[in-house]
């Protein structure tokens, strides 16, 4: 295995889990999330020699992931990458409030894609406004307004459906 492949494999092993969580919140489905991550890391592999030693490798990968997500929404299903040969069975529901999770993911899916990306980057990835703006290639003002609008949309969708006191 070449040096590039070794370094790439190590980075994938270390960071694909986190990226998959972000992708899951963006698209609401683990299979699609894996496909998004696969597409992202394929692009990363092609750019590896240029970006591997960059301090902001994570930021670059995250930016690629989000832009791939936004871009794929405009494309047909047949342009999406598939990473697994056969769909896997659904994971068993975990402990905790499944209803709340379903409600939240359903509500997130109804938030327009770019607003959703802002919410996920700001509140899941904990990125600053500046970092989020860079990832989405937009102004900081846009991030602030999209975050406010996204939160408002989410609030309107989630609050009526969750029992009082169950929103954590």
């Amino acid at each position: 295995m070449s040096d590039r492949d070794t370094a790439f494999a190590e980075y994938f092993a270390a960071r694909s889990e986190a990226m998959r969580g972000t992708a899951y919140l963006l698209c609401g489905d683990w299979h699609r999330a894996e496909d998004l991550v696969q597409a992202t890391f394929t692009k990363l592999y092609l750019a590896w020699r240029r970006v591997a030693r960059h301090d902001a490798l994570d930021a670059y990968t995250r930016q690629t992931l989000v832009r791939t997500f936004v871009s794929e929404l405009r494309r047909g299903w047949f342009r999406k990458e598939r990473v697994s040969q056969v769909p896997q069975d659904a994971p068993a529901p975990g402990h905790g409030s499944t209803e709340d999770r379903v409600v939240l993911l359903a509500a997130l899916a109804k938030v327009p894609p770019r607003q959703r990306a802002v919410l996920v980057l700001r509140y899941w990835e904990d990125l600053s406004v500046q970092e989020t703006a860079k990832a989405l290639n937009c102004s900081e003002g846009t991030v602030k307004s999209q975050a406010a609008r996204g939160l408002q949309t989410l609030r309107g969708l989630v609050t009526p459906q969750m029992h009082e006191g169950r929103v954590r």
Partner: protein
């Protein structure tokens, strides 16, 4: 819900959904290597093409510079069919350069994408993958119209507007896009989708079609359920299953999502014509991100969906 509550809710959503096992590093590496190989092949084709053009230009200019009558043969390749599809013929008038560069057809690399290295290499003078006018675009529009007129009695395909989801574009749309060259053959996708409503019933469903013309390398020549499960998902989600439906002796792969994911299509029929043309017709009870409620049932029965996939009017090139 404030910002902190959202943070907590997002964390809970990921943890409680029991993520599947970790992704396979080996597979990721293989995908990266394959993409790198493909890129090298594309650039290799482009460089070879430029070399051929350079030699041909030399053949054009040299007779003129030497005052010859054009009988000097330089750069023999210009007389042979170019493997890249680029050709240039010496101008009979000497130095006046009339080199013509046609879209590159990398016959040695069935997977190479001519458009990847230069905008001018898309077929038929296109600026990108999508045909926005001309016969290909017209064919895409016709697919949409034919799909709409193929609905059973009582159903229609109106041009509805989204309610509160303006970012998502038109609900009724057709597109013709170039896929790849395989030898001299252009492979195209005609893709169309439309909302579907039933008379005297609530809800808006979705019907979608994709025609992938013959020669595609997308599924490596596989057909039937084996290929349907390998294809990118018109229907995705857990527990997808594939059955074979018979339509007048024609075998159609019928893919059904037992647990449809949000916004996903619920059922798709895939039919391969003998020449390899693949027709996929898919449907869902609801039209995601439209603001309209879903229908109680999918617009078509599985058999109707399968029959639509075999309809000769969708056998396109």
């Amino acid at each position: 819900m404030n910002e902190q509550e959202l943070k907590n809710a997002l964390r809970d959503a990921v943890v409680a959904s029991s993520p599947p096992p970790a992704m396979d590093t080996r597979r990721a590496l293989e995908a990266g290597r394959a993409a790198a190989r493909k890129r090298r092949a594309t650039w290799g084709g482009a460089v070879a093409g430029l070399a051929v053009v350079g030699i041909a230009v030399g053949a054009t200019l040299l007779p003129g510079l030497s005052g010859g009558s054009g009988s000097v043969q330089v750069g023999g390749q210009s007389e042979r069919p170019s493997t890249t599809g680029q050709s240039a013929r010496p101008s009979p008038s000497g130095p006046a350069l009339t080199t013509t560069v046609t879209p590159k057809v990398p016959s040695g690399q069935p997977n190479a994408q001519p458009g990847a290295s230069s905008k001018t290499q898309w077929p038929d003078g296109q600026q990108d993958r999508t045909a926005t006018s001309g016969p290909r675009a017209d064919k895409g529009t016709k697919v949409l119209n034919d799909l709409s007129s193929s609905l059973p009695p009582g159903f229609s395909a109106p041009d509805k507007q989204r309610v509160g989801f303006d970012d998502y574009g038109a609900m009724r749309r057709a597109q013709a896009s170039f896929e790849e060259y395989v030898g001299q053959t252009q492979v195209w996708t005609y893709w169309a989708y439309t909302p579907v409503v039933k008379a005297d019933a609530e809800g808006v469903g979705r019907l979608e079609i994709r025609v992938l013309t013959k020669g595609s390398t997308e599924l490596g020549g596989a057909t039937g359920c084996a290929a349907a499960l390998r294809a990118t998902y018109p229907v995705h989600g857990a527990n997808s299953r594939c059955d074979t439906a018979d339509v007048g002796g024609k075998q159609v792969a019928l893919l059904t999502a037992n647990t449809p994911v949000q916004n996903g299509l619920e059922q798709a029929a895939l039919f391969w014509h003998e020449d390899g043309t693949l027709v996929t017709v898919a449907q869902a009870k609801g039209f995601a991100n439209s603001g309209h409620p879903a229908m109680a049932q999918p617009p078509l029965t599985p058999q109707q969906l399968a029959a639509l996939a075999t309809d000769p009017k969708f056998h396109l090139d």
